[in-house]
Symmetry: C2
Subunit: 189 residues, 2 copies
DNA sequence: GTCTATACACCGATAGAC
DNA sequence: GTCTATCGGTGTATAGAC
């Protein structure tokens, strides 16, 4: 059934988030989903194919989520604040970003959908800044490309700090810092 | 010999950097170092103890490295620039930061030396900003704590983006962005 | 399509000779 | 202290009945 396939993907998404690629095993997926081994290998060639489908699905999901939150009719700075300061569970890590530490992900082409998500966010930020600038609404004290990458990086780094210190409060702390930096770098006219 | 012990730690540091904790195995350490299994288990109780020693050593090393680069007699902004823009191999990831994605690291107390490194850097940044502020050398447009955390997070995030895009150029891009943000947030008087 | 049984490699760890 | 041999467990994958 396509239902079985979907359940395998959902369970794999969960486990990749919790444990990353290396520490996630097909056996765990089967145990948690209650699906049998034969079913899994009927739908997917192996662990890598299963993870690939899950990562692809997660990427599409997060891109849609991003658009719903950022690509919206609000003043520029409100859009950034909405994105930067939205609630995130720092201790769990980024659903996709956490995976790039796994050697099997960066070596294979499993990283492609992760790259796509970050590219999407960066481009949306650059676009928003450039449009506002072209309209004469803002003056930029920083390069739009570099600023966009830095904002995305800040959030990813916030997850790292949260997990390192085992303190979810770092998400807000960094979000505040990033927001203050952004306000200092973008002069409204 | 204490030499064997040291070689085990050095090899483990390398492998933790390359593969993280989950994907690093004692067998790999032994193979690469040419040391026998019995030796390893003579010096260390097990994989976790070996990794713990390696992480502890790496943390001390990176703290010393940080001090040599940042805690230095230069103008404030030069010190930040020195730290933010120093050459880093983005594709390899942060020698310690990359480990917090591993569930075994964050669950156990292996994360303690990693937390210590980040705390050290954050406090040094806060200290530097506060001293300069107290001396009336700068005016701060952002909270020092939040700014410090954001700078550290940016670098960690830059590693994530570099690996996700498989593009080492993101290290410089984010460093530039962070530097511009910093300059916009810290007004020299 | 789904299940159980099984194969085979590797993992972390131990035993015991030297 | 160091080595080799080996253990029990688990990971990924396959076989083959239903």
């Amino acid at each position: 059934m396509t239902d079985t396939r979907q359940k395998l993907i959902e369970t794999t998404k969960e486990l990749l988030w919790e444990r990353g690629y290396e520490a996630m095993s097909p056996n765990l997926v089967l145990e948690r989903s209650g699906i049998g081994k034969g079913s899994m290998y009927h739908h997917f060639k192996g662990k890598k194919a299963l993870a690939s489908a899950a990562i692809q699905a997660r990427s599409e999901e997060l891109i849609a989520e991003f658009d719903a939150e950022f690509d919206i009719d609000l003043p520029l700075m409100d859009r950034f604040e909405r994105y930067l300061c939205k609630p995130r569970d720092g201790l769990k890590g980024c659903r996709l970003g956490r995976l790039v530490s796994d050697i099997s992900v960066t070596e294979d082409e499993l990283r492609q959908p992760i790259s796509a998500l970050f590219t999407h966010a960066e481009q949306a930020f650059v676009q928003a800044l450039q449009v506002a600038h072209a309209r004469g609404e803002i003056e930029l004290k920083a390069d739009a490309d570099a600023l966009a990458a830095t904002l995305v990086a800040s959030i990813q780094g916030a997850f790292i700090l949260s997990r390192a210190h085992s303190d979810p409060g770092y998400m807000d702390k960094v979000a505040q810092g990033a927001m203050q930096c952004l306000k200092a770098s973008v002069v409204l006219r």
